[in-house]
Symmetry: C2
Subunit: 147 residues, 2 copies
Amino acid sequence: MNTKNAPALHELAQDFREALRHSVYLVRRLDADGDLSAAQLSTLKMLLDDGVRVGEIARNLGVRVPSATEQIIKLERAGLARREADPDDSRAVRVVLTAEGRGAVESANQRRNAVMAGILESLTDDDRRALAAALPVIEKINSTLQN
Amino acid sequence: MNTKNAPALHELAQDFREALRHSVYLVRRLDADGDLSAAQLSTLKMLLDDGVRVGEIARNLGVRVPSATEQIIKLERAGLARREADPDDSRAVRVVLTAEGRGAVESANQRRNAVMAGILESLTDDDRRALAAALPVIEKINSTLQN
DNA sequence: TCCTAACTATTAGGATACCTAAGTATGAAC
DNA sequence: GTTCATACTTAGGTATCCTAATAGTTAGGA
């Protein structure tokens, strides 16, 4: 892999920023599709680990607690999630998926993945390899921001 | 580079989608900083080529024309852009940057790049190479969506 | 020529998702 | 047991996007 010099930091930063900015359109395309908004799907996905606190959800999504509450209330009204008392701490609320919510995550994921797969179809094998190699790096970057 | 098999399309699609979804937080971090919102900076950047039509801006940003108009009006009120009659077509409007607008793009870019560089600082050389190799692929993907 | 259809942009009205600030209830520390 | 911190909700406001309706301009065919 060490066949090229590592790129200069400030250039890489600028190019990566551009790429992310341009990807806004791609993300919109993926989310335009379904019956579940991007924010709601993200929130639902947090619940795949059962019994998550509101504050935890907010922190993982990178939003403030009231925004998380708002989404959860919507999901609850849609019958996709349920709020339960935390047995250990009466201040806290544990949010769980309903069966319907689990199905909604599943199908929304599949639909979006299909759209993305259609978009990536035209990539060459080299392109795919290059993209796949970068994804763990991007996840590494993102994971450093989680606090 | 051909040392691994190319990843399966549907897995790559899913992983890339995850990576983009997780990057929302990173993008928010970059944009939280400045005095110029993400939407406004994106719109301003479109104007670096002088005399761009409203419809062209909208198309390039991947939004509808009224949304572009809205941003342009804000930028105009802030003294960063100016709308001018198109000499060739009286229906059309050409939007141009003011000197102040040009400065604003410059400084907003620099600030965001500095934040991003700080975040990327901890990457290894291999990480940087992998990321840099994927950026043209991502741009290729994005460019296929521009219509 | 003139009429119609297509195009360009704006205005109006509404939805979503985020924010801060303030309020309620519970827990923990002394 | 008072006080401070924590967990969540409620209230109010802002930014960005959308669709539908409107006004003005251009272009093409009868």
